[in-house]
Amino acid sequence: MNFLLINFFLISLLLVTTFFIFKTTSLISVVALTGAFTLLCSAIYVNLDAVDVAFTEAAVGSGISTILMVMAAAKLPEGKKNKLINLFPSIILAVAISLILIIIITNLPLLGDPNAPIHLHVVPEYLKESKDFFHIPNVVTNILASYRGFDTLGETIVIFTAGLGVIALLTSNTLNRKTNFKKNKKNER
């Protein structure tokens, strides 16, 4: 019962944070609120027994990504209070998506049901065997590094590619292209 109450409280806090992210126009407060959002998420993960995920979310999600966003926001101009665009179609889309999701969620097994199909296949073997194989008590580490090591290798490749992309984007000089608006503006004058 306590578990559900804490969960409900944290998720309502998440909703409030999301609403304020939607509301504010100042870029730096958007960034700060995003940091708060991810920290709240890691609290939810702890509540859901996912300590490793909470750890990563707190370090990478609210640490590194907030730093990156602060660095970007420092270079960008202050957000303007513009009219919302595409408001009506996006409301329809959002309502439709959430209706579909609610229908799907009602068909899922109950939260915390130990006999749900997800808990019956593969995982019992992982929990039983991994200690004998690798002598590490943390099952998440075992799966991440051993059973699904190639997955993690693929992840590393993705991050490497993303890093290359960021470097290429930030160092390339696109100002000499035809679609250069600074130049066009000068020509107009």
Binding site: N82, L84, I85, L111, D113, L127, P137, L169, F181
Partner: protein
């Protein structure tokens, strides 16, 4: 539970879009981890005291996804910076009007 989050995310149409994308992702992660929960279970670290553990498999998947998500949002931020360098604005409407002007 997560369904409510989506409403707010999809309706924002600034170049706060990168942030919106990150929020969208995180909502999906919370949903995934909630599937892994077993009532009366503990974190999947083997001890003698516990009798039930939560499912470690979704945890692993989400662990990977969080890191990839940060990489994608970094790429998005770099794109936004590059757009700002070229157009001197990051508001979608203003960029559109600039495009229209240059087409004439």
């Amino acid at each position: 539970m997560v369904g409510g989050l989506f409403i707010i995310i999809t309706s924002q149409n600034y170049l706060k879009k990168v942030v919106g994308l990150a929020i969208f992702q995180t909502a999906v992660f919370v949903f995934f981890v909630s599937l892994a929960k077993v009532l009366d279970g503990t974190a999947p670290i083997l001890t003698k005291m516990a009798n039930a553990y939560s499912n470690p498999l979704p945890h692993v998947l989400i662990l990977t996804a969080i890191v990839v998500g940060v990489a994608t949002s970094a790429l998005g931020l770099a794109l936004v910076l590059q757009i700002y360098k070229n157009y001197e604005t990051i508001e979608e409407k203003e960029i559109e009007s600039l495009e229209l002007k240059s087409d004439k």
